[in-house]
Assembly symmetry: C2
Homo-oligomer: 210 residues x 2
């Protein structure tokens, strides 16, 4: 044990401890190089590399690549997220259907139950989308969460336009969300609509909606 004179075990830590420390350091800062790690852990660069191998930690560049790819995927899926849920059927001013699968990022980590606002967001997005109007905004809503929705469940929301209130600027939309044939959510939305209200801005109500 460290045959030197008075110095007994100064900062000599076990392999296991070093591995824990290594995981922690890389966890906190994934952009650290092996050379920087030698300074923090006081071992040679070869040891660092053996450690990474044992722990299955890829090299810095690979770590960055994975993060970059991950973020690229995320950005792409977020930009698709104009609407929460995928609209699979849409009859403007009549009805619409959207599908939304509950993933990790939508649930409480404690119990894997979906956060209410994601279920709401799907219904809200669909209620807005189904209104054939340039500007459609939620005015109010009356909602019920009928049963908990869990990780990996697929929510199918169906929206029906119930009343156009004589073009008076508001539409009522009813949304039912199902998992399988169980209803998990029900909401009555009142949606503001812009067109044909007071000033007819002419011809925009057929603008491209997808």
């Amino acid at each position: 044990m460290n045959t030197r004179e008075g110095v007994p075990l100064i900062d000599r830590i076990s392999k296991k401890e070093r591995h824990q420390l290594l995981l922690k350091i890389i966890g906190q800062n994934p952009f650290v190089t092996d050379r920087e790690l030698t300074r923090e852990l006081k071992v040679s660069i070869q040891t660092i590399r053996l450690d990474r191998m044992e722990l299955g930690i890829p090299e810095l560049r690979e770590r960055m690549k994975q993060m970059a790819e991950h973020s690229y995927d995320q950005v792409r899926s977020l930009s698709l997220d104009e609407v929460v849920g995928e609209i699979v059927d849409l009859q403007l001013d009549k009805s619409g259907i959207s599908i939304f699968e509950i993933r990790e990022e939508h649930v409480f980590t404690r119990n894997s139950i979906a956060r209410g606002h994601y279920v709401f967001a799907q219904a809200n997005s669909l209620a807005v989308a189904v209104i054939n109007d340039e500007i459609a905004l939620t005015a109010s809503a009356d909602i019920r969460f009928l049963r908990q929705v869990h990780l990996n469940e697929k929510c199918i929301a169906k929206a029906y336009v119930r009343s156009m209130a004589g073009q008076k600027g508001k539409a009522k939309v009813e949304v039912f969300t199902y998992v399988g044939d169980e209803m998990v959510f029900q909401g009555n939305f009142v949606i503001y609509r812009s067109t044909l209200e007071d000033n007819s801005e002419g011809g925009v109500q057929d603008a491209d909606r997808h």
Copy 2:
């Protein structure tokens, strides 16, 4: 101009065109190497590198690093996002305040008005957070969007626990959201709570909540 025999200007494009193409290709796939680009653009690797220099496009590794750093920041801010909005005051089972700033990603691109479900999400998160319970889930809600919220506006949500319904498993929470001193949203939430319901699982109601 291409002194060879019959072949006139076959896929000989101008520098400008090549630059446009280069930008497009890297835009579509930031993970492309210079070597791969030589195959797509039919020029030498030196030309590719001169082009990148002129256009100020960094090398592959630098591009990946930037994306990774960007996503790292995002992930960190997202993981704070257990709750939509930042909770600045919390008196469990009594009241809470959260702040949420409307950014680009929260608005309709057309008119920069916040999507309703973000405003709802802030209120819903706060309503759930204010309940001092292991498991708290939204059962139903009655909400009003009182005025549109625009890009860069700061929403301040205040939640008040109105009734504990005699520990019967439900709590009523009222949430008011303001921009400045204007009320923009109001919601009445009914929140399921787990503890002290039918089976007393003992001592968990003081579990760490932050």
